[in-house]
């Protein structure tokens, strides 16, 4: 199958993720959208590894998965702490930081 299709798919996934970060209000959903962007990058890396004939891109995908897992640990810790204090995970509600 033509590798371009995979690239198009990765671009679509990345755009969905980026748009989601900008429009969604729940911190967990925003965070999932960031993960979607990382996975879109993985797809692009693996596709390019195929077209370029090197394994580097696949190696990157593995590293990104590990980093994404670490990011989940840190991110959920922060979001859960906020949720326990405010009973809401909205990214709009915490607005104490002002001039």
């Amino acid at each position: 199958m033509n590798p371009t299709n995979y690239l198009v798919l990765s671009a679509i996934l990345f755009s969905i993720g980026a748009a989601g970060v900008l429009v969604r209000r729940n911190a967990i959903v925003v965070f999932m959208c960031v993960e979607l962007m990382l996975n879109a990058s993985n797809l692009a890396f693996v596709t390019f590894a195929r077209t370029n004939g090197t394994l580097d891109g696949q190696v990157v995908a593995f590293f990104v998965m590990v980093v994404a897992a670490a990011e989940v640990v840190v991110g959920l810790a922060i979001i859960v702490t906020i949720f326990r204090t405010r009973n809401s995970a909205s990214v709009d509600e915490p607005n104490l930081l002002r001039l």
């Binding site: 990382l38 980093v67 204090t85 915490p94």
Partner: protein, 520 residues
């Protein structure tokens, strides 16, 4: 299956690791891992002392190793993933020096009546009886130190990273601990948690952009290595889409970390909400590390495409400093003001990056050293001026401080003058260097914008000085806490550095000059 195994075994050459060249990074990483073990194995009472020893020992040993790196060890190490060259060593030295100074401020316990700057347990509910009980028992979180060390090791990697994968990993190793540290303040915990969430969500958003841009560059060049990418920009015509997407998205990721406009929105919130010692640490060292990585990416990997990114970067640099100073004029919180001023400084530093010359490189590195030490000192001072409920952040409560505590106000005035770039302080030497480099490279308009921005910035820095020395103290004037030897030493080092880099900068200018060319 057999036919797969045989050629692999024949062709796989094991990469050589020059452990001496990587030693500083490995020592700090090792100290961080040791710190995690200390958390698990050392009894509560002795932990703080052990952690401080591990942290200071690790950072000090790494600094000694960086300074003593022999020229024969310099070169591409770890199969080309890291470049240990002049800029790497200079910036690693800067990061370690600033981190050691910042560490002393983080370790301060005399300032807050209930302990250090961190919540007894970050997981405890804000305002709960559990939290009050922990505060009463004097619990502290020594997990801060391993996190601190992991962040520093990520920074050391970030300035040395010479392929796209290492760049991304180093970025995350640097950022993830900082997200956590930002949310651990003892006072105003809601603000601190809010800062952590904003920093985390926006930071991971930006690193996703960096990663997707890396994928595009990988697709274009067929390799992750900066040198191969640079050759591809020279030799491979076409695929302009991949080139531009890669260049643009990678730049966005890095510009976010240095808080350049329009990716600066997180900085004031994060600086204001974080525990002040951590805000100082972040403001200084993250800037050094991120500019180090930006310099290497732009000069080495994307150097062949300089004609594509330079015009955009001139504009970004100009907008960054102008927006930074204008917002700083409007802010009434001291930490927010310092945050906006750090955005403006990112703009000045960008002038050295876009200059795209050896002079620009050495001027930027000197600027980072000068700015880093002054900033850590300024945030340490902010920590000492306290009202009944913690730090007195609002500018109005700084009125008349020059009469009640002239020493502290004088030192803070010195830092502000250095940040404004007044002659005989480090800020002047640093700014002069980047302006000269920018003019040499044809950025006259950007330098005019920079001079204008400097003039505006002098207004709000001097506003604070005038407020401290010529206004009457208000009824709710804050108390100035006398810190322990730790913070006093840190502030002393920052003062000495600010003066020495302003009056006798030649040694350090020569050092920066001698550290210039990037290896590839």
């Amino acid at each position: 299956m057999v036919h797969l195994a045989v050629p692999l075994a024949e062709t796989l050459t094991f990469p050589s690791f020059q452990y001496r060249a990587m030693a500083p990074i490995l020592v700090v990483l090792g100290a961080a891992v040791l710190g995690v073990l200390v958390e698990a194995l050392v009894p509560q009472g002795a932990r703080r002392a052990v952690q401080l020893a591990v942290t200071l020992g690790g950072l000090g040993a790494a600094l000694a190793l960086v300074v003593a790196t022999p020229a024969s060890e310099q070169g591409m190490v770890a199969a080309g993933a890291l470049a240990v060259d002049g800029p790497t060593l200079f910036l690693q030295m800067t990061i370690l020096v600033v981190a050691i100074v910042a560490m002393l401020v983080v370790a301060e316990r005399r300032v807050d009546p209930s302990g250090d700057a961190f919540a007894p347990r970050a997981a405890a509910l804000v305002g709960s009886t559990e939290e009050q009980e922990q505060t009463r028992l004097g619990w502290t979180q020594t997990e801060v130190w391993p996190l601190f060390l992991f962040a520093v090791s990520g920074m050391l990697l970030f300035v040395a990273a010479s392929d796209l994968l290492m760049l991304f990993i180093a970025l995350e190793v640097m950022s993830l601990p900082l997200y956590l540290l930002a949310g651990m303040a003892r006072r105003r915990r809601l603000l601190s948690q809010e800062a952590a969430m904003k920093y985390f969500l926006l930071g991971s958003f930006a690193s996703a952009f960096l990663l997707y841009g890396s994928a595009m560059l990988f697709g274009f060049a067929g390799s992750l290595d900066f040198a191969v990418i640079a050759d591809a920009f020279r030799d491979k015509p076409g695929q302009l889409g991949l080139q531009l997407l890669g260049l643009g998205l990678v730049s966005v990721g890095l510009l976010f970390k240095i808080a350049a406009v329009p990716f600066h929105m997180w900085a004031p919130d994060v600086y204001q909400g974080s525990p002040t010692p951590i805000a100082g640490f972040m403001a200084a060292t993250v800037k050094v590390a991120a500019f180090g990585a930006l310099l290497r990416v732009m000069y080495v990997a994307l150097g062949g495409a300089a004609w594509e990114w330079q015009p955009a970067f001139w504009v970004i640099a100009s907008i960054t400093m102008l927006v930074g100073v204008v917002l700083a004029v409007t802010s009434s919180d001291i930490k927010r003001m310092l945050a906006y001023s750090s955005i403006a400084h990112a703009g000045f530093l960008l002038l050295g990056v876009v200059a795209f010359s050896t002079a620009g490189l050495s001027a930027t590195m000197f600027y980072l050293l000068a700015y880093g030490l002054t900033t850590v000192g300024a945030f340490a001072i902010v920590m000492l001026v306290r009202g009944p409920s913690g730090e007195a952040g609002h500018l109005s409560s700084w009125a008349g401080l020059g009469r009640t505590s002239p020493l502290l106000a004088g030192v803070f005035a010195l830092f502000l003058l250095a940040l404004a770039g007044i002659p005989l302080t480090s800020g002047f030497t640093a700014k002069f260097g980047v302006f000269a480099a920018a003019i040499e490279s044809g950025g006259v308009w950007a330098v005019l914008a920079a001079v204008l921005a400097s003039a505006i910035s002098a207004f709000f820095y001097l506003k604070v000085i005038v407020l401290m020395f010529f206004a009457k103290p208000g009824p709710d004037a804050p108390a100035v806490v006398v810190p322990s030897l730790l913070t006093s030493t840190a502030i002393g080092v920052a003062v000495v550095a600010t003066v020495v880099l302003g009056v006798f900068p030649q040694v350090f200018l020569d050092l920066a000059d001698a550290s210039t060319p990037f290896l590839r």
